[in-house]
Amino acid sequence: MSDKDLDVNAGLRESSTFDLHSMAEIRRAAETGIYDIRGFGAKRKVPHFDDLLFLGASMSRYPLEGYREACNTKVTLGTRFAKKPIELDIPVTIAGMSFGALSANAKEALGRGASEVGTSTTTGDGGMTPEERGQSKKLVYQYLPSRYGMNPDDLRKADAIEVVLGQGAKPGGGGMLLGQKITDRVAQMRTLPKGVDQRSACRHPDWTGPDDLAIKIQELREITDWQVPIYIKVGATRTYYDVKLAAKAGADVIVVDGMQGGTAATQEVFIEHVGIPTMAAIPQAVQALQEMGMHRKVQLIVSGGIRNGADVAKCMALGADAVAIGTAALIALGCNHPKWDEEFRKIGSAAGYYDDYHEGKDPAGISTQDPELSKRLDPVAGGHRLANYLRVLTMEAQTLARACGKNDLRNLEPEDLVALTVESAAMARVPLAGTSWIPGQGF
């Protein structure tokens, strides 16, 4: 019998409004006088891909034979203007995460894992490290408001450039890296004093709107002689308009990060209360591109809460060209692993719950700059685990695509999907299962 059952039997009733978590937060705020900062993504329940189902083939559709009939997973990103588009073997990329937020070993492991299966990794708000450039066959270099470590040599070493306007965990907010993680090397890469609480700008320092951004993109193209694709990443909010403006500004690829996307350090109130779910953002982005005649010409990458091959397939069925994973990749490396439970408890957390990435005390050695903790992650073994996981994501997505009769993941379409709830039907713009009703689109 759980504690909760005991409480109920004793006639105790928890308030739905002032639940135990809310009460604890009020006490914490009252005691400390500061908002809660944490890592990870939104923990609240939002309509997600679990609320969608595929309609497998039967009489009216013709399935493909599993394992024997090919189902293509390759995707080419940046076909609009770049002389050298990025060719990926699988449509699952690794999202931007900084050295600083993550240990050098973790960055190396991400590069190794991604390279093993022919996909790309992405730098973060701390510049490009030799470790990740060395281990990533395809590396996307983020161009962020902070411009930490930004330099033309690394820009020209990149396989693509991602201009970051925002991220799903905190659309409208800048990066944050607290002093505990600003070691000598991190400080040097960011040109900051050691130990400061670093707050990155939320806006770029030298452009202020879409017309300026178009010129900025031209500048990046000129500096790199139009060789590599330029992505624009936005946090999912007014996605329909943001995607239109990004395409107009000249992006080769647009990355839309939903509210379930992770962060290394942000105010909890920001993580939980800003942005829209990934599933709701995709149809807006696709509509925007379709209206401009740019769907598939400007490729769409979506991220935020992707966990398995079904999530991948559903994103692609809704019109994405590829997805990006961050939190899931860290979990594949060993983040929140139960084998460290005792140590998680010593720092006031538990395996499966740990989100204090900003403290730099991660027992799994991933979101830390502590040299002893970092050693716990073997970059070769970690990279192999990530590669395994990426292979499973791909095979699962292929399984679903073949069942729907598709010989390419990108041939999946909204018509292959139905929704389990009215909310998800409205957001994903697919019919409620067993009906032809898409809320908001009449009967």
């Binding site: 500061i34 900051l192 320092p205 500048e219």
Partner: protein
């Protein structure tokens, strides 16, 4: 002297010709004519060459410059010398906002005035402005120096890290965590060097120095364990 006329050539052709000098330097002196406010002129250079831009430049002129000496014989648009790494960029006229944004190294000289956010997020370069600078100059600037021979606008040095700011004229207001600091001998020496390098004839002892009070470097220490 190699002359590229933008009435006959494109900006792409100009930049490619200048980039090619990194592989094999065939000409050290360049002149760009027919300039009509074009954006992204002479960006991403990586060779010790001189480029004279004969006219007004648009956005991001000399962006990410390394080694080159670039002179704009006119005004410059937004973000002149943004993220430059080394070399020297000189604007003979006025510069628009975000001049020298995030620049890591080298020297940027503005002979006229600079607009808002001059030296925003500066990361180690030196900027010398003979005239005035606009509001929010050196916002979140991390390293390097800004010298203003005229006046500074509102919120100078807001959220400043370790950049040093020298102003001869008035400062309309200081931003959060920016304070006036003592001019010691080492600062007079540093400023003298900066003025000499920029070729500006001013008396260093007539300047005041501003820097970070470092009160925003960490959130409230009392609550550090709760972050």
């Amino acid at each position: 002297m190699k002359i590229i006329d933008l009435e006959k050539s494109t900006v792409r052709e100009l930049n490619q010709a200048l980039h090619d000098q990194h592989e094999e330097c065939t000409e050290r002196e360049w002149e760009v004519t027919g300039v009509k406010g074009d954006h992204n002129l002479a960006v991403g250079l990586d060779e010790s060459i001189s480029v004279h831009i004969k006219g007004h430049a648009g956005y991001y002129c000399a962006g990410m410059n390394k080694k080159a000496n670039i002179v704009v014989h006119g005004n410059a648009g937004q973000g002149v010398g943004e993220n430059m790494m080394s070399g020297q960029v000189r604007v003979m006229g006025d510069a628009s906002q975000s001049a020298g944004a995030t620049a890591h190294g080298g020297l940027l000289v503005i002979e006229g005035n600079a607009g808002a956010r001059c030296g925003i997020s500066l990361k180690g370069a030196d900027i010398v402005v003979k005239g005035n600078v606009g509001h929010m100059s050196c916002f979140m600037a991390q390293a390097g120096n800004l010298v203003v021979c005229g006046d500074a606008g509102d919120a100078l040095g807001d959220s400043l890290y370790e950049t040093r700011i020298y102003v001869k004229g008035t400062v309309k207001s200081l931003g959060a965590d920016c304070v006036e600091k003592e001019m010691r001998a080492e600062h007079i020496q540093e400023l003298t060097d900066l003025l000499n390098r920029a070729g500006v004839d001013e008396n260093p002892s007539s300047f005041k120095r501003y820097g970070s009070a470092r009160n925003l470097y960490n959130f409230k220490v009392d609550n550090a364990s709760a972050y």
